[in-house]
Amino acid sequence: MLALYLAQIVNSGLALGAVYGLMALGFSLIYCASRLINFAQGELLLLGGLGIATLAGVMRLSPLVAVAAAALAGFLLGRALFATTLGLTLRASPLRQLMLTVAASLVFQGVAILAWGKNPLMPPRLLPLPDLRLGPLFFGRDTVTALALAFCAMAVLGVFLKYSRLGRALRATSQNAVAARLMGIDPVLCHALSFALAGALASLAALAVGPQTGLRYDMGLGLGLKGFAAATIGGYTSLPRVFLGGLALGLCEAALVLFLSGELKETATYALIIVLLVAAPAESEAERP
């Protein structure tokens, strides 16, 4: 019985965790490049998903094309978000920039309401992955889809950041914006790039979460918050750790439901995050964002 419980925790936890992880990656990219908490992250997922769903209604999308289209749509959305928030207020206080993303999230919601209405929309399942059984572990197809998308995105992102010139520029800006600038890196380009990549990640997450839950105008904030929490658990700076933070959050939620109850899950999760933050060792305080 316990083995079954554990298998179920892994299945539910990873389904949630992979999506949280993708959202958290986007959060961290933007946070590291521009010290900005992006409250419109969930709306990027929403609009990206709705866009792809509409496209899939018009033409047949093969899985690869769907992924590429989602990434591209998200990329453009993220870029547009940058142009209307941070791009306009490069020298404003971080708080004003943050609040602009809140206003942007309302605008995105407004667009979703006007273009797609208030009823939830069910996007088609564009990635036909099967259920998976690995020994005692069981993965539903949603879990498999989310995990596959997340790991592919992680791998591509990792390679891009590590080996490409642009990726290195982005990392340099994250680590020390002034030094990067002295080396001839355009910081604005890097900010814009981080937004666009975050948009692409959110859009990919929509491919995983959309067919499971449907897409509705008011779903953004909830998912965005979980991404924010996951990014916080992961500590923002290292992308693999941030992604693991997402998986940990998902697993923790599933475990809390099974061993405690759904009633107390949220309370316990958020209380744990507070404890985690407060109790974390104060390693080199200056570097803590």
């Binding site: 419980y5 539910s12 949630l16 208030k118 009823n119 069910m122 499971q212 449907g214 779903m219 759904g262």
Partner: protein, 389 residues
């Protein structure tokens, strides 16, 4: 243009047919409160459209008491505070005779406290029973409710389960007012029907995956699981149950679910789920002698003609605003004058008012007036709602 013509024709034809006198005199002003933004907007926005449609119909057929009806409606933003603010504007600013709406239970409670003190009749379209429960929720002399009580839906489900010899169940309810209400009623009435609740779980209605809860409930080996929520979460739960390995219990949804949205969101997983719903959801199954048949059929036709169907496909909530206005009309006609106290007294003594959601017979204790016979048990079969066998 064609649509407008059809709409005009639909509105004018009955008027011509019955040769009703055009309403004249001062209009009877009715206030409408509908959540048109925020989480309850999916229910509130079509309610407003239906209310406007119904008022146009009323005026086309001679108004109420020979006077035209005027509807002034505001957006409550799904917030109790805003709902109260708009209610006061309606009562003190626009001097309405009565209020229909609001949409969510929280809004209803906030408005009710005020309308009871101000002695304004309010026919609410909220799901929760608290507004007409009395006790710690205060008196409900001036408050009426158009949708079925939670307890009515619960009884309907239990009766059905009893007929199928199912006595061991598990309950999964959302952590909001609707879910809390459902859980309380399910627990309170279980004994009466000899039903045993083996396990209960709750979930966040804004969540995206409830497979952990589903698994935990399945592990208790119930014969049926009742999911009590409104909105997309119900469909997610259905999918999570369908994805469970092993033997699955019968899935029962609440009366908040029936509608095309559930079918679309849950897809194949919806197949075989049982739920109580209004007769609006299966009009073809009604026998000819059912008094609601003609009302429901003309309502569906008007709903389509008014173009609401395209934006908000017909669901179990669609008729509530119509019913609220039907109750109001019956009340005013019984009272014989547009006076709040007379209207209140009349609303308490209505008999056999035929609406879309049922046939209402109210009393001073029962400010809803609907019973189990107003609901039918539905089963999802190959992507359609059918009468459950």
């Amino acid at each position: 243009m064609a649509k407008i013509l059809i709409l005009l024709a639909a509105l004018l034809l009955p008027a011509a047919a019955f040769a009703a006198a055009a309403p004249e005199g001062d209009p009877i002003v009715i206030g409408g409160l509908f959540a048109q933004s925020g989480p309850a907007a999916v229910v509130g926005t079509p309610s407003k459209l239906v209310a406007e449609m119904t008022v146009a119909q009323l005026n086309a057929t001679g108004g109420i008491l020979g006077r035209p009806v005027k509807l002034i409606s505001y957006d409550t933003e799904s917030s109790p505070d805003v709902a109260l603010r708009q209610a006061r504007q309606l009562v003190e600013g626009d001097k309405v005779l009565a209020i229909i709406g609001p949409t969510s239970t929280g809004e209803g409670l906030a408005v009710k406290k005020y309308t009871e003190e101000k002695k304004v009749p309010a026919i609410m379209t909220v799901g929760g029973d608290a507004i007409i429960a009395g006790g710690k929720f205060g008196p409900f002399d001036w408050t009426f409710k158009a949708p079925q009580r939670t307890a009515t839906a619960v009884d309907k489900i239990y009766e059905y389960l009893k007929g199928k010899n199912i006595s061991k169940i598990a309950v999964m309810s959302s952590k909001d007012a609707f879910g809390q209400d459902g859980l309380a009623e399910l627990k309170a009435n279980a004994g009466k029907f000899g039903v045993e609740i083996l396990a209960e779980e709750s979930f966040d209605p804004k969540g995206t995956d409830f497979s952990a809860q589903a698994f935990k409930l399945q592990a208790a080996k119930p014969q049926a699981v009742i999911v009590w929520t409104i909105g997309p979460a119900g469909a997610i739960a259905a999918k999570n149950f369908a994805a469970l390995p092993g033997e699955r219990p019968l899935l029962v949804q609440s009366h908040g679910q029936p509608g095309p949205s559930y079918l679309e969101l849950a897809g194949e997983a919806a197949g075989g789920t049982i739920m109580p719903g209004t007769k609006l959801m299966a009009p073809e199954s009604l026998p000819d002698e059912d008094p609601q048949k003609i009302v429901i059929e003309s309502f569906i036709k008007a709903y389509k003609d008014a173009g609401i169907q395209e934006k908000f496909p017909l669901n179990t909530h669609s008729g509530y605003a119509y019913d609220a206005l039907a109750l109001l009309r019956a009340g005013l006609e019984k009272a014989g004058k547009a006076d709040p106290e007379a209207l209140r007294a009349a609303l308490e003594k209505l008999q056999n008012v035929v609406g879309v959601s049922g046939v209402y017979t109210t009393s001073s204790q029962d400010h809803n007036g609907l019973h189990g016979d107003s609901m039918i048990m539905l089963i999802v079969d190959s992507g359609r709602y059918k009468l459950a066998p």
